[in-house]
């Protein structure tokens, strides 16, 4: 009997180990310039700094870091020095919540930028809201985060007053992709795959609705397990479904291998995804099979905006090791939104931080309006960005740095 119980203990320990690895996050403190003296205001950053999604996460951290450095350099807020405190959530909701608690406990933190994943945001919102700490996400696109779980049923209700975002939502990202692919790329039969996570499933659903509304046909659906890289069986189903398009709701660590494997299996259909696959790493992972694939992303390509030239130049000058990736501009703008709000609070209080600075910052966010890297930055009554630009990108070459090329930018015009 000893052996049987050994197996049982083993199973229990394995489960324990699983949790441990998932929570193995690290603090990555980045001490900003302390030269300014006076009050220090910390802007928290929560993003996956390690693990599969770290390419996007590090871009977020670096961009926020750049924003605070510039604010300090310009002495933008009198007597206030900004610093960042970057925490790693590894894309895990549990780590995100722990990090939120940690940021809330630090009295110097007056705002947080992040997270990357909508599912992580869900776990953080209440923690921040209870502490009246403002959170601005550069990347969350799930509509429910700002408009409540019933957003699709017509009853929009903002669940948390402390939550804002500079990214636009999947409520328009999915349909925008559907309109482009059905009308312009002339794709009629789609196979829809998602990873069942908040972001992926939501995006896939909004795409599917619009695509069928336009007259397209869904020839198959599949949910994948994001822990695996073997999509052999799914790839075979896709090939046999005769789809001329595969929509993937999820992120690049799975989208890359999926694109590769479905084309190796013999499918000619391009893979399409949302901003979660718009990353240099997608090209690395999908290789030559990824050429021709599409992604939509929020806003206009940063490189094309005149307002972004300065950001790109400064980013280069700051010498970060990692690229700013899809959310760099949005993260920079998110950080600046907090800086602007802090400035207003300080100015209204005779150049000093009031005792209830956190609550005042949330109030000030409503009126924040400035020209950012990604265009005009301001928020509507739900905390959503008023800027609703979107762009379709396509992989043109296998070079990860320059493979993604914008094919069409625009604003989604709803059919409903």
């Amino acid at each position: 009997m000893r052996q049987r119980s050994l197996i049982a203990i083993t199973a229990a320990l394995t489960a324990g180990a699983l949790t441990l690895t998932a929570c193995g996050s690290r603090d990555d403190k980045d001490d900003g310039d302390e030269a300014g003296g006076g009050t220090t205001v910390v802007i928290g950053v929560d993003a996956p700094l390690t693990g599969e999604l770290s390419a996007l996460g590090l871009g977020i951290r670096n961009s926020v870091d750049l924003a605070t450095k510039q604010a300090n350099e310009k002495k933008y807020v009198d007597g206030v020095t900004f610093k960042i405190e970057a925490l790693d959530d590894q894309g895990q909701p549990s780590s995100g919540q722990t990090n939120a608690t940690k940021l809330v406990a630090d009295k110097d933190v007056l705002g947080a930028v992040g997270p990357l994943n909508s599912s992580v945001a869900e776990s953080m919102q209440k923690v921040f809201d209870d502490a009246k700490l403002v959170q601005v996400s550069p990347a969350n696109t799930n509509p429910a985060l700002t408009q409540g779980p019933d957003w699709n049923g017509g009853k929009k209700e903002r669940p948390y007053k402390s939550y804002f975002r500079t990214a636009t939502t999947d409520a328009i990202q999915g349909p925008f992709a559907a309109q482009y692919l059905y009308n312009k790329a002339k794709k009629k039969k789609v196979f829809v795959v998602d990873d069942k996570k908040t972001y992926g499933a939501g995006l896939a659903a909004t795409f599917k609705d619009e695509f069928t509304k336009l007259g397209g046909k869904v020839v198959g659906t599949e949910h994948i397990n994001p822990d695996t890289k073997d999509f052999g069986a799914v790839a075979t189903k896709i090939r046999n479904s005769d789809a001329d398009l595969v929509y993937y709701g999820g992120e690049y660590p799975q989208a890359g291998p999926l694109s590769k494997q479905m084309k190796q299996a013999g499918s000619k259909a391009p893979l399409v995804g949302g901003d979660g696959i718009y990353s240099a790493d997608f090209i690395k992972l999908s290789g030559k099979q990824g050429v021709g694939d599409y992604a939509t992303s929020v806003g206009q390509p940063v490189e094309e905006l005149p307002s972004a030239k300065e950001f790109i130049a400064n980013y280069k000058k700051a010498g970060f090791k990692e690229a700013y990736e899809a959310y760099g501009g949005y993260s920079y703008d998110s950080a600046w939104a907090i800086i602007e709000a802090v400035k207003k609070v300080v100015d209204d209080n005779d150049g000093k931080l009031p005792d209830d600075a956190r609550a005042k910052v949330i109030d000030a966010m409503k009126d924040v309006s400035f020209d950012g890297v990604t265009g005009k930055v301001s928020f509507d009554e739900y905390g959503d960005a008023t800027n609703k630009q979107l762009t379709v990108y396509q992989v043109k070459t296998t070079d990860p740095k320059s493979g993604w090329k914008p094919v069409e930018s625009g604003t989604y015009t709803g059919t409903n």
């Binding site: 193995g24 693990g51 599969e52 390419a55 397990n225 999509f231 069986a233 189903k237 013999g266 690395k284």
Partner: protein, 309 residues
């Protein structure tokens, strides 16, 4: 059902990889009754060993020419780590209660994972791995990649070689003797320490080969890949009858086929449309494991042994 042959091949490929890794679990368990939970990470480090060799080679080297060197690199790294683990983490605990080495194994597994995370350049996200050149191969309605062919050829060769080794060589027979009764084997003049090291090394070498196969198949490796695959391989070893080397391979293939069949067909079973697809494949694989263990607690090829504890 016209996709059935392809799905069978998909399952066979996945299963061969599970099987190659499962041999490491089963051999070590068969001889020292230790579930070496660091084995998944030993597999992972093998992959990074092969990648290192590839990065050292001058740019433009053909993958075919590099493959033997990459295999050597993978096997070198994985066996070195396995032998080191045996010597420094498990041997000092050999007389201790069984739970102690098990906990050490899990600790070692986390340590290896974090070591690669921390020190291997750019290993914080997935690293791309070279792929075998050449287009896909079509046999009837089945499509396969050169990397798949590598796996399909390597797995049986490894099995046959291992079978020969265990049955025909002196040290192989020493292994069998040690597995049956380590104390008596020692009295008969068998160097059991050496036998145990060899068991660890063979398991690790197979894991190294599996890591190269995985890299070639998916074109990427990452520091976390050993965890899930290790768990699946352990499941395969239990399914096949832990301690039995052929059982490990068969358990792997059965598990792989179960996953691929579940993904492809459970959806089509009336009333099961919500319980199918790839996200449910693991669930069905484990349901299969439970059923097998209920009907045949010793696993598919395992023998019912008297408890020695």
């Amino acid at each position: 059902m016209h996709e059935l042959p392809q799905q069978l091949v998909n399952g066979l490929l996945l299963g061969s990889m599970y099987g190659l890794i499962a041999i490491g679990y089963t051999m070590v368990y068969g001889i020292v009754q230790l579930i070496n939970f660091a084995h998944g990470e030993i597999f992972m480090t093998g992959g990074f060993g092969a990648l290192t060799v590839w990065l050292w080679l001058p740019a433009g080297t053909s993958v075919w020419a590099a493959l033997p060197l990459m295999l050597i690199g993978a096997i070198f790294v994985s066996t070195t780590i396995a032998i080191g683990a045996e010597r420094f983490a498990y041997r000092p605990l050999r007389g201790a209660p069984r739970l102690a080495p098990l906990i050490t194994a899990i600790g070692l597994s986390l340590a290896l994972q974090q070591a690669v995370w921390a020190w291997y350049p750019e290993a914080k996200s997935a690293r791309s791995f070279p792929e075998l050149p050449g287009g896909s191969i079509h046999i009837g309605s089945v499509t396969m990649q050169p990397g798949d062919i590598f796996l399909l050829i390597t797995a049986p060769i490894c099995m046959v070689a291992l079978g020969y080794f265990v049955m025909k060589t002196r040290i192989g027979r020493g292994m069998q003797a040690t597995a049956q009764d380590p104390d008596t084997a020692k009295l008969m003049g068998i160097n059991t320490d050496r036998v145990i090291v060899v068991a660890f090394a063979i398991g690790a070498a197979f894991a190294g080969i599996a890591a190269v196969a995985r890299g070639l198949k998916y074109g990427q490796i990452d520091f976390r890949m050993g965890f899930i695959l290790g768990l699946k391989a352990f499941t395969a070893a239990v399914l096949g009858g832990i301690g039995n080397i052929y059982g490990a391979m068969i358990g792997g293939v059965v598990l792989g086929l179960a996953e691929s069949m579940a993904t492809a067909y459970i959806n089509d079973v009336p009333g099961m449309d919500k319980l199918g697809g790839q996200s449910w494949a693991d669930v069905w694989a484990f349901v299969l494991l439970i059923v097998v263990l209920l009907v045949r607690p010793q696993g598919l090829l395992g023998e019912r042994v008297a408890d020695r504890a």
